[in-house]
Assembly symmetry: D2
Homo-oligomer: 365 residues x 4
Amino acid sequence: MALTKVGVLGATGSVGQRFTLLLDNHPEFELYALGASARSAGKAYKDAVTWKQTNLLPEFAKDIVVEECKPAGRFSECEIVFSGLDSDVAGDIETAFAAAGKIVVSNASNFRRSPDVPLIVPIVNPEHLEVVEKRVSDARAAGKERPGFIVCILNCSTAGLVAPLKPLVEKFGAIDALTATTLQAISGAGFSPGVSGIDILDNIVPFIGGEEDKMEWETRKILGSVSADKNGFDLIPEPDMKVSAQCNRVPVSDGHTECISFKFASRPPPSVDQVKDALRKYQCDAFKLGCHSAPKQTIHVLEENNRPQPRLDRDRDAGYGVSVGRVREDPVLDFKMVVLSHNTVIGAAGAGVLIAEILKAKKVL
Amino acid sequence: MALTKVGVLGATGSVGQRFTLLLDNHPEFELYALGASARSAGKAYKDAVTWKQTNLLPEFAKDIVVEECKPAGRFSECEIVFSGLDSDVAGDIETAFAAAGKIVVSNASNFRRSPDVPLIVPIVNPEHLEVVEKRVSDARAAGKERPGFIVCILNCSTAGLVAPLKPLVEKFGAIDALTATTLQAISGAGFSPGVSGIDILDNIVPFIGGEEDKMEWETRKILGSVSADKNGFDLIPEPDMKVSAQCNRVPVSDGHTECISFKFASRPPPSVDQVKDALRKYQCDAFKLGCHSAPKQTIHVLEENNRPQPRLDRDRDAGYGVSVGRVREDPVLDFKMVVLSHNTVIGAAGAGVLIAEILKAKKVL
Amino acid sequence: MALTKVGVLGATGSVGQRFTLLLDNHPEFELYALGASARSAGKAYKDAVTWKQTNLLPEFAKDIVVEECKPAGRFSECEIVFSGLDSDVAGDIETAFAAAGKIVVSNASNFRRSPDVPLIVPIVNPEHLEVVEKRVSDARAAGKERPGFIVCILNCSTAGLVAPLKPLVEKFGAIDALTATTLQAISGAGFSPGVSGIDILDNIVPFIGGEEDKMEWETRKILGSVSADKNGFDLIPEPDMKVSAQCNRVPVSDGHTECISFKFASRPPPSVDQVKDALRKYQCDAFKLGCHSAPKQTIHVLEENNRPQPRLDRDRDAGYGVSVGRVREDPVLDFKMVVLSHNTVIGAAGAGVLIAEILKAKKVL
Amino acid sequence: MALTKVGVLGATGSVGQRFTLLLDNHPEFELYALGASARSAGKAYKDAVTWKQTNLLPEFAKDIVVEECKPAGRFSECEIVFSGLDSDVAGDIETAFAAAGKIVVSNASNFRRSPDVPLIVPIVNPEHLEVVEKRVSDARAAGKERPGFIVCILNCSTAGLVAPLKPLVEKFGAIDALTATTLQAISGAGFSPGVSGIDILDNIVPFIGGEEDKMEWETRKILGSVSADKNGFDLIPEPDMKVSAQCNRVPVSDGHTECISFKFASRPPPSVDQVKDALRKYQCDAFKLGCHSAPKQTIHVLEENNRPQPRLDRDRDAGYGVSVGRVREDPVLDFKMVVLSHNTVIGAAGAGVLIAEILKAKKVL
């Protein structure tokens, strides 16, 4: 099968480097174009990038000549572009690529709240892609070319939160109240400058700008549904689901830990065993669709009382699986538990690649 | 004024070393006896101890000959003993010292739930000492000698939690519901073996044995009151105050961070400014009594949005002050905020010394 | 090809767990017996072990019933046993297994200095195995069964040191003087108790018991040769090669960094480029023999001025490759450079498995 | 006694903040002017600075209005200015202040290699100040005003190295060869951006730009002497003292650890005990002069085999004392030992304050 040509925008940054790694030897995608700022354009990727990943810079990418982030040159031949751009430049560039007919899968925050842009955790709500699927099928029915569009990757801390909630809502109905205290890894903050070492060594920073608000708002969109006309999304109204987040940065390299508690709307609530059972049995659509990167086990329910731990559990299913431990009754709400997710995989670049795989499996391309 | 002779039980351990440091040059107490296991007895303290504190082993203590933990020898002359014993031996030894007429201020957990033993955070509930004060005055009225007794130091994670709650309850009435997610430093776990480096480096351990249960129970005792007959304590019943704790060990040396949220029983709740104001104006009794170690400012309310942080704020008022930041409304309960306390000072040895200072100021000695 | 049955001694410990992981799905070996203390014997491995590895406990091993460490039961059927035993028990047990005809590949230090026991870094001095090969071929020539014997794995810090020295000595002749300052990861210290978190967080411990002496002595054995009669080893005499080590424990999970400098005996010394070239071209015998775990590139010479770094480079060639950076002239000796090796792979369990693969490739089995 | 008015240049940066802290309640100096970039000028210091120190921003400094770094305004009244400026702006500004008659004590690197600028570790080579003392006394003799001049604070890593060497050279003569491998704390790199957390967590960076060259060159200046005409300095020629440094950044907040070895020029070398004795007996001139910040014990010789450690020993003598441990013979050179110094005290701002105290004690002001 012919590989789909894809590109990476912001390829020299932290997220861009991870896209590049994840696309090395991908069975469906060929990383064909790398975009960065004018300062880097014209250089071989290996000379333009300060490579900071654990895995070596893949051979295939070393000599790709970096281009500016415009839907021209090698990018013209790409059907999908993955964006790891900073939000101060992502808006215009991503709009231009979508206007040029490209599918933009973006890790930037610019369009996450746009009413017609799907905000996706691929193991949670791929059904939200229906909004762009409809646009594509409408165009095709009208004999037009497939239009470009933007799909946003969900913020890393919310991704970990909603993963176990999805199967629970499916099984036991609406969530009435939800609290989450996060212990977030530093890799999510990028590295130029990211979190300063002296700020985080032997320390906790109990604040991440905008993060709590994102978690409280995004959860309403992700757990909400596609609107009846399939042109947008019906968010869960705030009074129906109260959400409270407290976000902390901790001295951990990768893997967000979240201590959450929640209360179902309907009474009586299920038992602890029923909750665990629903989590264990959940199989994400991406896996059912046979997507290459989809986790075999979406939610790992751990029984050891001191798990999950970031160093030991973050790499389950190559970072696409989410671990849940210490599921127990909560004296204030119904249940409390600990959730661990890999922030740069299911919470960033990895999610983008799996979203593209889903789009391909659904024949949107 | 003559100094009161005091001793330290478990002097070679982590807590015992901190008692020894805190008693160096104390204006009211003379550290006169050091007790440890039979293996250490007979040795000079400097030879018996593996000193692991940031401050050097005080000169005065170097050549004190360590004794076994029995109310004999130099301990006979001590009026107070501070216990840093492990709980597997603390029960019998502390009972023997109390029976011998000593005042035992203990960091061990053995008697924390005893109905007639005060469980004290000296900046929060010194009024609970009334139970032992009554026993002492009854004896004195009967022409008897002051009897020995045990006072327990509260567990470190609960100490941080109740410090800001006390002035709020005093001002705005009962707490209906309370949640706390802790990010606890490793120093609290001691060092033989304590938390293993490989377990905590680049990692979070979302479990501390027994800690959540302690926090949920102890809060009811601390915020409860002395019973009418002054022989014990009336705990706040569970239905009246729902408490839920989630405890994590984090790679921080000293200072417990706690993300808490709570709801008052009475409606409407106060405003954020009223809450902050009550916290700022709170002056602990120990300070009013003029105790040497009492914090000038009991609760520091920080306005910077990224504070308190353990490395920057744990040493306020020499570790006897508690820092509170990010006081804000909570979508699920009424308020949420971040509390930071120094676990080995106000949460352990330091609390013990301040309790003894209060007892002296109250003329219980 | 039939798999060779192997066993692991000390299977519940840190090193034993890594042996178990490395033997999961091994193409030549079947992990057939797991040995531990009497306390664990009789339990399924999954119940006897406190699993602390990043990878999950392999399915195949979960239900193997742990046995005592005696050459009986399932161990009778094993041709090779890997020992992760503590040195206080390793002596007698390993001797008993060797006496019973088993090949013992040991990570314990007990026999490292025995004159007839090969001390091996599989990517450096597999030719030292000739001493046991001779014993085996002599026995076979005499019509006897293959005798048992012990092979020792080199201490982790020395393994990193000698890996780049071997090709240099081969190419440019003897080393006259050698200094090494190590920055050693904590995983090498095991986890019961290993290095305490409070001892290593935000700290350096400039001492590891016995380590400097080991490095100074072992280097003479590894870089020395098999004696003429092939019954033992000719160590390089101390005056011919002066070695000085300074060992530090640092807050790094895996990967030993060593800053080394050295002077060749012959004048003039080679150039920096010649040194790098010799390192790059070195191909270890294990790779030439086609061993499964042998690194494709034995020594990675990095040109970036801030490499190697443990987090970024420790996993090259699955931890079997060694990274060298900053090769430059030294104002005091001839050259200085930075060496990084994975202490639990090429410096412990991984080395053991590769040694066994070499023995099999050499038909010693 | 009237306080000497002093100012701080670069007052909002990492080094500037520490100058501000150290000058709080200083018995001889009044911090009177705070200088920063035009962006900060005109603001109260408390509003201009992002305070990142463990100690709170001193009350006295909160409302000082920040000025631009020009020898005008409140700076006109200052006799001394402490410079924590970045090197990209320090050159012009410090030159302007010196030209305006100010004594500039600078932590910037710009003039460290200037032939007539003293480069000072106050506990090591205050006699190098003779070069500026001569300039001052010549001017005074000629009836002129005291001229302005610049004194440079030595780079932190070299400061730790030369502190113990000074008494040894005084006692046992010249050093023939010297090697130092550093394990440097991250605080020295400042915090905008300084060392990124993701670069240093669970990691070592074996490179600090320019640092090794600085150590090798500066050691020759510090251990050299004032030239005969007292107009400059005679550096120790490279062939007379070979120096080799290997510099690493480690995940430690404060305190540089250095593993050093050295060989004396004269034979036979002293014994280990003689070396320790010389270190212990060394009393720095600053202490003899009665300077406020001078350490009572300049070099602490520790006998425990696992010391010095940054977390436990960096604060000896408020960070002005240097700790030395593990003094022992070296198989390659004569001796090896571990040196620990507080990089932001004796290696930066603290050194600057003590230099100013020495100048005042010597009546240069």
